[in-house]
Symmetry: C2
Subunit: 159 residues, 2 copies
């Protein structure tokens, strides 16, 4: 089946997301709880903090992109509002939360049409969106992909 | 003027590139030669190496995307083939090369239509492209944007 130009374009963006998440996932999955305590550089964030941070930021995409309720709102205070080591880590399995959020999110992304990718996200008003239609779902996807790549570069410093 | 769906989609990808490059550029521009000698973490790449590396990788996009001759092929050996500090830095101004490459590249990107973004890049054969049409210019742009974000995350560790 031949894809339309529109579908090819949105698929390229989605593939880029899947590539970045897949690489980070492959790097994180084999790490023990102890290995996740390592800092990316002296005095900087622990790998575990990055996992929590990215899980929380990605989880927020469910409501931001109008894709349903989020799964782990309890992570925001520890991994977004506060810096690393300010609050204790939750007893729950962060690696599992990370995997669950990304799997469900990616499944929801797969269902969006190119036109739906260009619809406004929920953090922009109708009025502002009319002035600037680039504030769409796709811009959020690309921004979060870059954000995940940004922290992947930091995680890659840990040997 | 109303943009087509196709144009909106490719513009989102180009905006994402411009955002990442713009942020990195703003971080690099004010740094002195001495500040560029700092390592992103102990024993890791210097900021100057990252600037040279990204300049060389981006410069290679001219021929890779069929956008003309590259400007600085001499950087490959120092900043791609070899690791940091294996070879001496060139006497030329790397910050200027970085800026020039990105400016010219972005100007060339601006001229591509959505259909041209979906054309094959020059490192894939006609036969392979027929099997996998996702190996297009847009995939390269998104990949290089993620690559730049990856190293931006490392550069951000330097205070």
């Amino acid at each position: 089946m031949q894809m339309t130009t529109e579908k090819m374009l949105s698929t390229a963006a989605l593939n880029s997301w899947k590539l970045v998440i897949g690489r980070l996932d492959a790097a994180i999955a084999p790490l023990t709880h102890e290995q996740l305590q390592r800092q990316v550089a002296q005095g900087k964030n622990r790998l575990l903090y990055l996992v929590g941070h990215l899980t929380a930021v990605h989880d927020r995409m469910f409501p931001l992109l109008g894709l349903g309720e989020r799964l782990h709102p309890e992570l925001d205070e520890i991994y977004i509002t506060n810096p690393d080591r300010a609050l204790p880590d939750p007893a729950s399995d962060l690696k599992q939360a990370w995997s669950e959020v990304n799997t469900r999110l990616t499944a929801a992304f797969e269902k969006l049409t190119p036109q739906q990718w260009l619809e406004k996200h929920t953090a922009v008003s109708d009025e502002d969106f009319a002035k600037d239609p680039t504030r769409n779902r796709l811009a959020v996807l690309l921004s979060r992909t870059n954000h995940a790549a940004f922290h992947t570069g930091q995680a890659a410093l840990v040997k």
